[in-house]
């Protein structure tokens, strides 16, 4: 494992955040399987080291844009279980008052500009957030999360071109989990993925997305450089999604072998492997880590129970929030 953060507290927080994502997803999956959740959701399980390794290098004023597979980014950027589960269940106390659901959770207090249900739909938004930082002279960095499948969208090439021309502080984080929905990545992507960014003069990297320290070490370095105006950057993070494209994608033998899933889960799991490393380094033993997980599972259960009994938004909210109010005082001449 690569070493990045040198402080025990940071290691344990990264471990905790990865477990929080895994536990959140286990509960979300259970809510779907027990027919308690409306609609569908896309599990981040298996990819935890990517979101945590990156978001641990960011502050609350740094922005991220997320994807349909976005719970991991949301948790890693600091979101709270209770408001997330309320959102998944369409409840009033959800992050978006139940109006967005799993695929649109936004948490602007932690700099999460929102998940996006259009594959590649947030590439412009992340780059625009970086443009705003540059125009306003702030040193915020924006990270654009997207999958290997989204590299087929033309928008990526339009915005990378502008980001590179204008040296914008944006990091394109491509989570390559090997599958573009129900199709192997090699069937949809010609050539190399990082080479796409290199063609625009963007420095590109490929990193083991199952190694949280490697991801964090690289991101810390790139964020520091982006703050100094040396961006943009492109990172391909090699990872794996444990579930199907979404929770309902259960019989997937036709596109992915069970043996392959087993190999990743048994030998490449980012949480298990980081836990082993923490024990080897004498930072935490198995009991400590189990106690941490138990506590997180109890938190999650309490949040799920709360969300299940929380109230739905009142019907009067259906046409609220179509338009943001504009203070009439600002529309007067001289204002």
């Amino acid at each position: 494992m690569a070493k990045a953060k040198t402080n025990t507290e940071d290691y344990l927080r990264m471990y905790r955040q990865m477990v929080r994502i895994r536990v959140f997803e286990d509960n979300a999956n259970q809510l779907y399987l027990s027919a308690k959740m409306p609609g569908l959701t896309h599990m981040y399980s298996g990819e935890e080291a990517v979101a945590v390794g990156i978001c641990e290098a960011l502050t609350d004023s740094d922005r991220i844009t997320s994807t349909h597979r976005g719970h991991g980014h949301c948790v890693a950027k600091g979101a709270d279980f209770k408001q997330m589960f309320c959102e998944l269940l369409g409840k009033e106390e959800g992050y978006c008052r139940g109006k967005g659901g799993s695929m649109h959770i936004a948490d602007q207090s932690h700099g999460n500009l929102g998940a996006n249900a259009i594959v590649g739909g947030s590439m412009g938004i992340a780059t625009g957030s970086a443009l705003r930082a540059k125009l306003q002279g702030s040193d915020d960095v924006s990270v654009c999360f997207f999958g290997d499948g989204a590299t087929a969208q033309g928008l990526l090439y339009e915005v990378m071109n502008m980001a590179s021309l204008w040296k914008l502080p944006v990091i394109y984080a491509c989570e390559n989990n090997g599958y573009s929905e129900y199709t192997k990545t090699e069937e949809i992507a010609a050539g190399s993925i990082p080479a796409r960014a290199e063609a625009f003069g963007i420095e590109s990297f490929t990193v083991d997305g199952q190694d949280v320290l490697a991801v964090n070490e690289l991101t810390e370095r790139l964020v520091a450089r982006a703050r100094k105006g040396e961006g943009p950057f492109f990172v391909e993070l090699m990872t794996y999604r444990y579930h199907g494209h979404h929770v309902g994608d259960i019989n997937r033998d036709y596109y992915r072998a069970k043996e392959e899933e087993t190999i990743w889960k048994e030998s490449r799991d980012p949480i298990v492997n980081f836990g082993k490393w923490l024990a080897e380094e004498g930072i935490a033993n198995a009991e400590d880590l189990q106690a941490m997980e138990d506590e997180i599972r109890a938190d999650a259960k309490a949040a799920v129970d709360y969300a299940l009994s929380a109230k739905y938004p009142d019907e009067s909210e259906v046409d609220m929030h179509v338009f943001a109010p504009t203070d009439p005082a600002t529309l007067r001449p001289g204002a």
């Binding site: 306003q136 071109n161 007067r332």
Partner: protein, 331 residues
Amino acid sequence: MRNITLSQAVNEALAEEMRRDPTTFIIGEDVAEAGTPFKVLSGLVEEFGTERVIDTPIAEPGFMGLAVGAALTGSRPIVDLMFGDFIFLIMDQLCNQAAKAYYMSGGKLNVPLVLRTNLGATRRSAAQHSQSLHALVAHIPGLKVALPSSAYEAKGLMKTAIRDNNPVVIFEDKLMYNDKAPVPKEEFLIPFGEANIKRAGTDITLIGTSSMVQVCEKAAEMLEAEGISAEVIDPRTIVPLDEQTLIESAKKTSRVIVVDEGHQSFGITGEIAGRINEKAFYHLDAPVLRMGAMDVPVPFSPALEDITVPTPEGVVQNARKLMSGEMIHAA
């Protein structure tokens, strides 16, 4: 009051608002030194610099996406889309991203952004540079849509659009850029959702948008010579729509023609006619008539193009028919 062109009016509005609010910037193709092909932005880059008048590559979805991201994080971008026809290229960013962010986030994120573009045929520019696509945008909840009908409206509506906290699409009529109108030197804004009664009348109401306001005014003059008193109303914004003023006029005159340069089918004319039918039916002496552009791609040949859009003569003919009762039983 001085007379200035629609182009100068837009330029003044942008300059005033950019001086007022340092978070505003213009982004689009050839907006800086070129000042756009219509020269509407001439001089702005000299005053505000290339940091705030930003030339982009030819990548409409890309720069529209950047503007949405900048708007979500504290800027007020003014996006310049060279031709209204290019709106098809940016539909995801405009309709899936900008329009829905405030609602999907339960009111936490908003997108204060202006998309300025144009509409209008008869410039001999053929099917991909002549469309009037405002109905397409007005259909999407979360977007406001302004249709200035003269230099005065172009300035007042633009200033309001820039201060509005939502995405606003302004369609300027590209044939009117050199048309002059009286515009006060003193600062003024035109509120959204307030129709303008351009001319009072008692026998028939002509509702016109954008370039069609002129068409309705000419028709009203011609009708006056025949002893028919036409009221001309310009809604100025179609989202929000000042339904009340339109309905009151319909109730007063009992006959209405709605004239708009978008295609007639599934368009603005049908929407306004529908609302009047629902809310003023028992006051009407004739069906509300729609006059939009023909449902054909805009043809290049002048011989063909000119017959695709409503004309004052066409409005007069239809008004006569409505007045004589001829169309009451129209199929």
